[in-house]
Symmetry: D2
């Protein structure tokens, strides 16, 4: 299976070897778009797509995502990055240049419930989620067979709050050894320490099974049932040290009614969790998200 | 205008003079449906629609709503109600028999923002919200002209927390004088005292501008904006003494993104508030809602 | 894997050994509900759930689905069915009594695109789609490995319009040999002959990749793209001899915009196809659907 | 009422006196964004918002909408337009520069059903639909009172297919006399001749009560009911000479079920028609729509 996916990845890399994405955040002022687009033009790049957002044209932040194509990009990359420094300094830019052929390395953390993991693997198999899934990490053996059958490494690391530090140490070593760019918590039911979160800042995406900020914390379906809500939801967000308080990437909901008990809600909710997490992960992989303070700009 | 609506109401009453709705709540056990349907059959009634819900067939509550048609219903009504007592006692029923031609009397409370009021009036004019709108009560003069142009009484009762008791006294007198069955808080921005709420138990419907239980209390759009949510919502619920904690009738949401500030959310939200409140009010008028503990069964 | 599912199925059968569902279609007239519920009560059955629909109380059709529980149902089944004949005759009923423990036997037909098949198998593995998936039939080998890894028989039957008759002969033999109750066309790209359709009347569910009646026939995404629609959809329906004209069970849509080309629409659409087909199949397995003329009543 | 709206309009004009929107369509090639943004920068303009779409970077069309702010715009407008000709010629641009303070003049055509008209007027009153509604034209007197009560001119022009030419002559004179920029058919049930359509090319927005291309033509709800669909919808589009075939601007749907007859669908549908038409009209007024061949790009 892995070889079949690998082939898709290789085709994708080749097709996109001249494409890059430029993400910029800086104080708003006239001339930014003119300078950047002039720069790209002079370096032989053609803008394919561009989205921008001015928080407040008079004194707010300015955000832009530009996707461009440039012949011989690999050879020119260093030069482009060096030359861009001048503009970046002039406008006090916080910027990143991401090469599309640099497929991101991803680790998926999961506990017992496999639905969110399965959705990601399904999107990955069908070529719609372009990442190098380097490993699945779990505190349960449940998903091993399925994960390994796809040729993906499965690391069983038992965890509980008493051994949290040692567990995370092991996880961090593993993640660093594989240069992981993105950690997806696909219903991983362990709390992460500030140290772990800090180590992978804005690189951990979680799926929470409620429409936050409703039902922060444990057992949201049980609490939704007791409250008698008519909608249940799911929220994907970057993980910060405040539980379920990180920047929200995507949310969605589904209708429920008086006939649905907490268990029915859990089942209905799984379908929302799957799609909300998959959308958030894809947007991250496509460099569509800029985190600003405690919010996301999703282009 | 009122005469045009009155005509619609008269036609409706005549068309439905033989229709009634039976709402029952009782401990679940075998034989309830058999007894009730046999009873209706023996009294010459034909069941038009019926919905039921068993919380838990082994020992929970049972709920049923039956809509039936019965020739000469007006003459037979007393007899039916009397005869039904036997069944009601046998099964320990909490029941109500509502005659469709008994159009409910409704009062709408509103403060400054008129959108929810306007939606109700629009549905009422088009004949889709079958009620006798006896009055609009407001602590602002803003909507007077529009309300009176439709031939509806407008009562301006200034209100603030210092004079709450006197204000409510005046309101209660007015509502009782007109035998009001339903009070709709269409963005009425005053808190009601326990006394007022108790006086009209399960007869006050409010619209809250968030998907509860997120953003209970004041300024939900401002707080939604600060939290960076990707969905905003509205919730209609019966009013209890716990602020925004009453039984939820209906909820809905709309997507927002990073470009929408609190003011944009307020505008987008108005459209959800309008439809969520209108649906809840219509369901109440059609006797579709049974309140059980802090939840609603909506048939 | 199959043994794991088999275990779930066994638990389900045992938990539901006393449950049955009664589906009735007959001319509307007073006394139907009274007679049926009285009958069930006298036979010791407790109604758990009941939904009904009167097309037009004065002279239309009446439809009802009753789910009931009855101690020792297996021993009493014959007696109940025999005794019910009297009522059925009196009211000219078209009726079916389905025992919940009689898990339905299902065959899935698929061509190359596996997404709809995968969704069904995923729901089946998680215990949410309660069926005995007896076989997958395909005119391509693509899905063999995955299907067989779940312990399900995979039958590769090459097909094209020149050998349609022979192919269907083989398929019918196979389906009959396994007493198949439901055939799901999970993106099976071959047209079925009237003979095949007639053999399994109201037992074949198809997923069509458009919101019918828009884009009947081939290449709906290509045509949706050319027309510039802002919504794409999917429709599950029972198969009849008129292409894409059978009774619709379920539909849903997703938003697209000018950036989405036909290939993007195909990908977005797959997600709708998956959920729309899964819902339709589950409703069929739960005996929630009554076909009347060219429409479905879904309880 | 009109004076109250007029005040809002005046405030809006003043707040936006330095804002403009540039819409461009041209063959794609490198350097477009650089040239345009450099041009704006040199003329003292600050880009507030910008969206673009490349049909196909290698040889397709390129579309961009830029919203910018420029001090003393009114004095500079002529110079900007003149200077821009050079760039426009270089890149073979089809372009428009729209000044935000130039509020568009709008006429609404309606027949008997007032719901779509009412929604537009409601959005207009609340300041969310920024237009100068110069007149309502109708072939029925139904809405006169309501329209005139808002201070808007109401023109009753009886129409039928025998007098189509004369009727349209009268309408065209009226529209031209008031320099109408946009004609909204808010459920106007008369067919327009090619002459009328040609006179106001891409300036007539219609609301059709189905999700096109399903149910082109008359009585879509009746036909949706007969087909047994589970979704009904509405479509707003620019009017062309092919009935219901013009470029689609926006669509939406709502769920229906077997209980809903054609009349229920009509009522449910009205709510979709209202919001779909209002969104389309607002996008047009905000210069968000570029028509290309038979499609719309909506920025």
């Amino acid at each position: 299976m892995k070889s079949y996916i690998q082939e898709k990845i290789d085709v994708y890399k080749q097709q996109n070897e001249n494409k890059a994405r430029l993400l910029i955040k800086c104080p708003d002022r006239p001339g930014i778009v003119a300078s950047v687009s002039q720069f790209l033009f002079e370096h032989g790049a053609n803008i394919i797509d561009s989205s921008q957002y001015s928080q407040d044209p008079e004194g707010g932040e300015f955000f832009i995502r530009i996707e461009f194509e440039c012949p011989d990009l690999k050879q020119k990359a260093d030069e482009i990055e060096q030359d861009f420094e001048a503009i970046a300094n002039e406008f006090s830019m916080d910027w990143k240049l991401m090469y599309v052929y640099n497929i991101k390395k991803m680790a998926i953390f999961v506990s017992k419930e496999p639905h969110a993991l399965l959705e990601l693997l399904w999107e990955w198999q069908s070529g719609d989620l372009m990442a190098d899934i380097a490993m699945v990490v779990s505190n349960h053996e449940t998903s091993r067979e399925m994960v390994e059958s796809l040729g993906i490494a499965f690391h069983y690391i038992p965890a509980n709050k008493d051994i949290r530090k040692e567990v995370e140490q092991k996880q961090i070593e593993l993640l660093k050894a594989h240069d992981i760019d993105l950690i997806v918590l696909a219903r991983y039911m362990q709390i992460l320490t500030p140290h772990f979160v800090e180590t992978f800042k804005n690189k951990i995406i979680n799926i929470h099974h409620s429409f936050l900020p409703a039902f922060v914390g444990a057992n949201p379906y049980e609490r939704a049932y007791r409250r008698g809500v008519k909608l249940i939801g799911a929220t994907s967000h970057y993980v910060t040290n405040d539980l379920d308080e990180g920047p929200i990437i995507e949310q969605d909901i589904s209708r429920v009614n008086h006939r649905d008990n907490a268990e029915d809600m859990r089942k209905i909710g799984q379908s929302i969790e799957r799609s909300v997490l998959a959308r958030a992960v894809k947007w991250h992989l496509q460099d569509r998200i800029i985190v600003h303070e405690n919010k996301t700009i999703v282009f």
